[in-house]
């Protein structure tokens, strides 16, 4: 604490003041600043803080199907016990892990490949980048319908293509099949989001100093060595942020499984979010749904901690430089 104050005096920065006034005084002194953030904070309190509070409360109650809040009954940790003791929980969790991990790895690798291939200036580069970003921009609803049609068991283009290439004698049923459904949806998800990784990594590549690459080349490093020892270490910061954002996004996926399979066949594409939706809105088990949501909050807050740390580490480095 004292060292921080010492530095502040030394650098002659007006705030934090050498002898810190208490928090109330400081808040009063910067009351004009709060005016700027006030509208945002009010909106956030209504649409974010209130729902979080409410979800936590609901998770400890048994609420009737009609969602009539006057008749809810406190049932302690029953909702949580119900979740953790259900075999479906472990099945859905495993599927969520497969979905999240595979989607993230594939999207990241495809994105990295594209970023490297597009790094060098060439004619039509901006156009290609734009083209590759379109899946990321179109709605997941549109993407889900298109892929549902591509995978169609009778008239789907992919099934027909597989037959024409001689890989199978009849169209393959990708989505109505418990062993292939989840992986088929992962392909759709990767299609939708790999260009997000690409765009982040392209920006990251621009921070790699050309002089270092040249120096490495002069010293006789092969292209692979240059990538691995020069380029990749510079991408570590962006990669961390990108992977974390992809993990969060994938863990929270809803639209693709919901529209393409509705969690089926026989629950083989059910992941956490679609399961929560089913519990709450289709089976009116509000308390169990809320308890799931609370568990999800905890997981997301843990990831969020790493996310904020990854972002602020960059800040500190910049401040130190």
């Amino acid at each position: 604490m004292s060292s921080v104050q010492g530095q502040a005096i030394f650098r002659d920065v007006p705030e934090p003041a050498p002898k810190r006034p208490n928090i109330g005084q400081r808040m009063w002194a910067s009351r004009a600043d709060y005016l700027y953030v006030a509208p945002a904070i009010v909106v956030m309190l209504i649409v974010i803080a209130y729902p979080i509070y409410y979800t936590i409360e609901l998770s400890f109650f048994n609420t009737p199907a009609s969602l009539s809040l006057a008749n809810k009954q406190f049932n302690g940790l029953d909702n949580y016990v119900t979740i953790l003791s259900s075999p479906i929980f472990w099945k859905v969790t495993w599927q969520t892990v497969v979905w999240t991990v595979l989607s993230t790895i594939l999207a990241f690798l495809l994105g990295l490949g594209c970023a490297l291939a597009l790094h060098r200036e060439f004619a039509g580069r901006a156009m290609l980048r734009g083209l590759l970003l379109i899946p990321w921009v179109v709605s997941a609803v549109a993407a889900s319908y298109v892929w549902k049609w591509l995978y169609h068991s009778d008239f789907g283009a992919i099934g027909a293509l597989v037959v024409q290439l001689g890989l199978s004698d009849k169209p393959i049923n990708f989505v109505d099949n418990t062993t292939t459904a989840l992986y088929s949806l992962i392909v759709v998800n990767v299609w939708k989001e790999f260009s997000f990784a690409m765009i982040m990594l392209m920006a990251g590549l621009q921070t790699v100093p050309d002089t270092l690459l040249r120096a490495a080349q002069v010293d006789g490093a092969s292209p692979w060595q240059r990538f691995w020892h020069v380029t990749f270490p510079h991408l570590r910061g962006v990669s961390t942020v990108t992977v974390l954002l992809l993990v969060v996004q994938n863990f929270n996926s809803f639209i693709i499984p919901f529209i393409m399979t509705g969690g089926g066949p026989v629950g083989s594409t059910q992941i956490w979010i679609t399961h929560i939706y089913e519990l709450a809105f289709l089976r009116q088990r509000w308390g169990v749904g809320a308890a799931y949501a609370v568990l999800l909050f905890i997981i997301m807050m843990t990831l969020g901690y790493f996310y904020v740390r990854a972002l602020t580490r960059g800040d500190d480095q910049r401040a130190g430089a």
């Binding site: 509208p39 649409v47 594209c114 200036e121 083209l131 590759l132 549109a142 982040m200």
Partner: protein, 292 residues
């Protein structure tokens, strides 16, 4: 610029096979990206009969724009609904964008410039919102909308779209403000401008690209949103496109060419907007993650 030419020179030597690998990879990935969209378009040019054939017609024997006319003809029932959904989406997305940007501009500016107590806490609280999926907010927001009497109104959508639009807008705009040198405002203040004048006359014009980028983001996010619209709206005349097109095509047997035409039309506004303003869009996204 010199760095660019240098790197071009560097990479011209001894990387032949790698360059070819890169090209082949690009061809493959472009195919993977584009094929579904091309197939969407080709299917939308078919009649229902032509679409339901095996093996499929890779190009329709008799291409037709019939599916598009049906969607756009306000005298038919399909067209009436589609046009209504389209304007509902437009109206909700534009209003969400204006509100999100109007509220986010002062907040982002304050987070970038001022050092008030609780600044970091509030900023990260804003940021962490982006880690929570819409579904976990559904039940409480549904109750809230019932309380406010907003169920089945566009007000419920606009208010909830701010849950994801606002944090994103604040984060993106803060990135832009961080890159505008504070000395410019200090100079203006020395010349006698008030804090508000310095903001409106100096910072606002410089942050126009940021505001454009943020607006595109909010617009696209609102335009594509599905879950809240699916849950909060039951009346047909209120529905937005993502929900509307589903209602209409899955009632009996699915009319795939019609559905593909509808998804194509639904994608046009965002893709066009994105391609025109790509430069701002890309810059805004990476601004926060990669420090310059």
């Amino acid at each position: 610029m010199t760095a660019m030419t240098e790197s071009a020179v560097t990479s011209r030597r001894g990387v032949g096979p790698w360059r070819w690998a890169g090209r082949i990879f690009l061809v493959f990935i472009v195919g993977f990206t584009v094929m579904p969209m091309i197939w969407m378009f080709i299917t939308s040019l078919k009649t229902g009969f032509a679409a339901m054939q095996y093996p499929p017609q890779w190009w329709p024997a008799e291409p037709t724009l019939e599916n598009y006319w049906k969607l756009l003809d306000p005298s038919g029932s399909v067209g009436r609904d589609f046009v209504q959904y389209f304007w509902n989406s437009m109206w909700v997305s534009i209003l969400t964008t204006i509100l999100a940007v109007a509220v986010a501009v002062p907040a982002a500016y304050a987070f970038s410039r001022f050092r008030f107590p609780g600044r970091n806490f509030l900023f990260f609280a804003v940021l962490l919102r982006n880690m929570f999926p819409a579904v976990v907010f559904l039940v409480p927001l549904f109750i809230l909308m019932r309380l406010l009497g907003l169920v089945n109104t566009h007000g419920s959508l606009i208010l909830t779209y701010l849950t994801f639009g606002l944090p994103l807008a604040i984060w993106l705009l803060k990135g832009f403000y961080d890159n505008i040198p504070i000395q410019l405002e200090q100079a203006a203040r020395i010349d006698g401008a008030t804090r508000f004048q310095a903001f409106f006359l100096i910072v606002m014009p410089l942050s126009t690209p940021g505001i454009i980028a943020t607006s595109i983001y909010s617009f696209i996010g609102a335009w594509n949103e599905y879950i809240y619209a699916y849950t909060f709206l039951t009346r047909h005349d209120q529905m937005t496109l993502p929900v509307g097109i589903q209602r209409f095509f899955s009632e009996n047997a699915t009319d795939w060419p019609g559905l593909m035409a509808a998804t194509f039309m639904m994608s046009i506004p965002v893709v066009v907007l994105f391609l025109i303003l790509q430069r701002y869009f890309v810059r805004a996204l990476t601004e926060g993650a990669v420090k310059h």
